[in-house]
Symmetry: C2
């Protein structure tokens, strides 16, 4: 069966997974802005610390979604601070059965898509991957790579398994997840402390966070607070996740969390998706979210000027 895919938001995540799908023979259309001419001419290059480097020379690049037309699958890897542009970008891509897969960070993105285009269309994928876009069309893969995919507020279906198969066939480590929200909270156990402390530390990497005695204590306290908050919301996560995540992060070396890179480079930071929405959902459910709220408000103040970029 042939299928047509559109990638909206061709940053590091969109290009990395998109390049894999192209290489496996899928028809993948990339919506691009600044890198369009460069990628149309030179293609995409993936330089990996884990697997063989590869290039895809022929890349279908587009400046508008009208040019792409209806597709089977839209992969949304846009920064969540720009979600409002999806209201106009998505409609030209929609056919009767078009599925929208958000690979975005944090909470609230799937709900945004559901609200505008119908919940039945929406899937989510949680990317556990360390990527940096080092220059136009060049993606550096620093570690991991797993995507956990599921339906927004439902159990996995044949469609879920179909999309997972498309990804898996292209060499991406991809799994079906039964409860996407549970997995989203599990991912936040890492994202909330490390992205946050990297910003509040003035632009430091995860190795610097773990090497500082105070920030290491805060990392663990924030992880425990996120785990307890998830529990109050009905998503049970084990306390052992704290040690497990710290151990895993120690092996990452001087990795720079994506929000910190955005912050130091003066780009919009995903404050609401990563801290605001989790804090609000926890607070509404009566969880003790004092540290999370403090982190959210400190980052909000620091990034207010960058938010709309």
């Amino acid at each position: 069966m042939s299928y047509k895919i559109a990638i909206v938001g061709s940053g590091a995540v969109g290009c990395y997974y998109g390049a894999h799908l192209v290489r496996a023979g899928a028809e993948v259309h990339f919506l691009m802005r600044s890198d369009l001419n460069h990628v149309a001419e030179h293609g995409l290059a993936v330089e990996s610390a884990l697997h063989a480097d590869f290039e895809v020379k022929e890349v279908l690049c587009h400046a508008t979604t009208e040019e792409i037309g209806a597709v089977d699958l839209v992969i949304i890897a846009l920064k969540s601070t720009q979600n409002e542009v999806l209201e106009t970008l998505i409609p030209p891509l929609l056919g009767e059965h078009t599925c929208l897969l958000t690979l975005q960070n944090g909470l609230g993105n799937g709900e945004f898509l559901a609200q505008h285009f119908g919940e039945q269309r929406v899937m989510g994928g949680l990317c556990f991957v360390c990527l940096n876009r080092t220059s136009p069309g060049v993606i550096k893969h620093l570690g991991f790579g797993l995507i956990m995919m599921g339906e927004l507020h439902a159990s996995a279906t044949d469609r879920t398994r179909q999309v997972v198969e498309w990804f898996s066939r292209s060499g991406i480590n991809c799994e079906v997840v039964g409860d996407l929200m549970w997995a989203s909270w599990r991912k936040l156990v890492w994202n909330i402390p490390f992205n946050g402390l990297a910003i509040l530390g003035g632009g430091i990497d995860v190795a610097e966070i773990l090497a500082d005695e105070d920030l290491l204590v805060l990392t663990r306290q924030l992880m425990r607070e996120v785990i307890r908050t998830a529990g109050v919301l009905g998503y049970e996560l084990p306390d052992t996740l704290v040690d497990e995540q710290v151990e895993k992060t120690l092996k990452m070396g001087p990795y720079r969390p994506s929000s910190m890179v955005d912050f130091v480079e003066g780009r919009a930071v995903e404050v609401e998706a990563i801290w605001g929405e989790p804090w609000r959902r926890g607070a509404e459910a009566g969880a003790e979210v004092g540290r999370l709220e403090m982190m959210y408000r400190l980052i909000n103040e620091k990034t207010r000027a960058l938010r709309e970029r």
Copy 2:
């Protein structure tokens, strides 16, 4: 009755109150370092937004406490991060009845003096005053001026009232406080949020803190946490203090808290006295001090390199 006073730590606080005492005719000896030659030649100048400006031309300046010898009262206005030098600076000033009055910020300074020189010698004074040292020997008085004085861990005595009288007679608004620890916690209700958020905001003033919706929420939450912590430790403070302090601070205009000025100018920040010691005492007593601990650890990380200066 004639009396002899030594001032150890001749920054803005030491010079402002010392200049008042000199003007009233007291024998005041200033221990000085960088400003010694300038002040010995030109004296001290107080420029005030509230009362008449004045100068004292003849100032007794010294490079060592041996030169000063035994005094009736030692006023300690040194930054708390430098307390260890007091172990050698104080002994030459001690006579049989010498009283040590710490005007330093935060918690732990009186206890430090008591441990080294005996609790019976120690008094504390809480300064509610906005001062900046603008150039050598020149102190700018921006607002307030009250000192509340008491014995370290005892009720007020004749000595307390005597020292308060010396200050009052020189035109300083000075009051006896029955419970110095209670008053110290009351002062921390202001110092903890405003000094802390001014630093975590990257060097902002109190008007900028109050104008930011997130930092205003954090200010109020931190004040409530400090009030509750004081309550657990047995120092009852009313919740109305929150609104009262916010209102009072709105009238200060763009005041720069002293710790923030230290931070942006690369000087040691009183992290332990203002945040560390209050957090530890609260945590040991079982108070909920999550925000205070987070603030302490974030500031500790930010100022680690400046701490020993």
